[in-house]
Symmetry: C2
Subunit: 421 residues, 2 copies
Amino acid sequence: MSGNKQLTIGLFGFGVVGEGLYKVLQQTPSLNGEIRKVCIKHPDKQRNAPQELFTTDKDELLQDESINVIVEVIDDADAAFDIVKTALLNGKSVVSASKKMIAEHLPELLQLQQETGLPFLYESAACASIPVIRNLEEYYDNDLLHSIKAIVNGSTNFILTKIFEDKLEFATALKLAQDLGFAESNPKLDVEGYDAVNKWTFLLTHAYGIVTGTNEILFSGIQNIQLGDAKVAREKGYEIKLVAQAKKLSDGKVAAVVLPQFIAQQDPLTFVKNEYNGVVIESGFADKQFFYGKGAGSFPTASAVLSDISALRYDYKYEYKKLYHHQPAQLSSDFYLRVYISATDWAQLPKQELEWIEEWHSGQDRSYLGAVIHYSRLRNSDWWKQPGVSLILAPEAIIEPAELEKLRPVKSVAALETAEA
Amino acid sequence: MSGNKQLTIGLFGFGVVGEGLYKVLQQTPSLNGEIRKVCIKHPDKQRNAPQELFTTDKDELLQDESINVIVEVIDDADAAFDIVKTALLNGKSVVSASKKMIAEHLPELLQLQQETGLPFLYESAACASIPVIRNLEEYYDNDLLHSIKAIVNGSTNFILTKIFEDKLEFATALKLAQDLGFAESNPKLDVEGYDAVNKWTFLLTHAYGIVTGTNEILFSGIQNIQLGDAKVAREKGYEIKLVAQAKKLSDGKVAAVVLPQFIAQQDPLTFVKNEYNGVVIESGFADKQFFYGKGAGSFPTASAVLSDISALRYDYKYEYKKLYHHQPAQLSSDFYLRVYISATDWAQLPKQELEWIEEWHSGQDRSYLGAVIHYSRLRNSDWWKQPGVSLILAPEAIIEPAELEKLRPVKSVAALETAEA
């Protein structure tokens, strides 16, 4: 094994994460890492580091042969990709925290790694401080991974916790999250599920060898969740979380969705409150593991970046074993989902698209039903994304085609028609 | 990086773990592993595998040059050490599940690994299915690990859960654990903390580079926990768990103990019920991570053994970075502990050994007090191990010497004398 390599780092970005890294590296000589140069966008900002460390010229880092590691913790996905690409092609190892960039450029990034043979690490890009990528790569590295489900977005989990525990309306909870710095001023990326599905794309690569894009995954955020949905969840003994999940079906394909879900009390994900993230992995001999930690914020991100830097001392790199050494899995589009749908108006509920209805409830303000629907029906329509409609998965929502008829109720629930009449 | 190596395995032991491994390896060709021979003790037992697979002669495995991996999942610690030693010296990689053997022979095992350069993996020996060793080695591989605390023994955790939730007396809970197969017929190893401290010795090596023996660590089990202690815990909003913990002090040394502890509701360890294990790691930028999974039983053990076998395909080995590449830490004997002590009789409580008493309560059947005591006072005495006395750590029990005076109460609690009078 290689020794304890000296790392000379070029850092892109000097926000809270970048500055935190700079401080820790200074104070921790055993890490064998020194930041040679920092590339920033705004040279006039006051920085807590010597002036000569900074530049606005990225080539001072990317073309410096004494720099062997590029760390990029910037916000701009397009700029980040250029930096990563140039760095790898210039023979430098790279650590990145840009989930959006990785999700959007995964095939190119995989090719760049193969071409250059250089490490490209990004543990902080998913679940921040939780070592989920490292564990999928190294510990769950065989094809015995049955399922993985995770809360990967801290902002939405914070909002859902407030809706659920403090009975706040969505807008109030969102405002609170923004005030506390857990949600962006433009929260669309978090709230509408884009951030979660970005992370899910490359976690699917490490979990199952699947290389896909966000447009291939059924997803939504929590923008349509109502206080009334939280009330129903509570009555049923559930909480609501935005869950990214994937499950290997009996045909070897993988069902993957990112949707709000009812979570039962005994599920480890109920433990995940506020800005935390959590991952439940079911593997091998049908056993469950749970990983939990802070998923958002500068310190958890910096902590994961630091572990990646540390791993570079030993030339660690992802091997994408399930992609390159096993038969990579494919996404399935043939499975069913058990869902809860609530709407302001019965007319919004497409009864003809449902396999069957298991329960329904009609109230003054809102109506809801529990039903089973084919994945493709959701994938190919958007009635469930309309204002006024909430779609929430039931616990254990994924149903294999072969299981469907066994689960079909003997007596159909037909009262919906009456209620409409 | 090395490729997907063919593993030819010699297996010692064909109990539930061994048989499970055999089946999974047969069904999973991508693991590239084939069991060539199985060494068993009792040739007359009916086995679910071809007769010619078995032998009672260990040399048929250890001297077979075509076998490149030895997996040992046997019960006998002394025999296990002989097998591991011979296997490494004969050029074979080794996977072991024998925590007692590893704890007892750690220095020799470290030397054998250095001499031979061969992998010796034992993830299943601590927290079974939770990849705690792998994460301490690879992810928390720098010297920024502030603390680690863990529930590492599933049997005692099962018993404590039953005492706590079902209000069973210790003996009844133990009987139940035995009936359900969560505790051995001779439960001393689990119940008196030997199993937990065994695991803790080598986890300290991976966490802090400490190489020590069980006799150097202050530990006890749960044998003296009373139903009354559970009642007090409940009143205070706590649960009781057997916790192995280590914390880096400001002088760089590490405080490490394995003792029952009051656990507050917001602590992730409260989530760990029954036969599960859990690990809370505090690192780097002061963030907490929590790992949770099944800690006892054949399937979780087999699952971890399988991941070790899988890692051998890529020549993975522990590098013991904190021992060899950093300044290894030392155990501290200079710190204080905040404790709860209950006793049938006040006379059993050594008031003169306590720094101060924070609360006391005298009842009909039992009395208890909350106090602060120096670690060495416990280390060098055994009054707290006597029948009738329970010692339980308070939450956040470890106090640095420099913190002591700041915490000393202005008004001392002197009523104990009166109560005795």
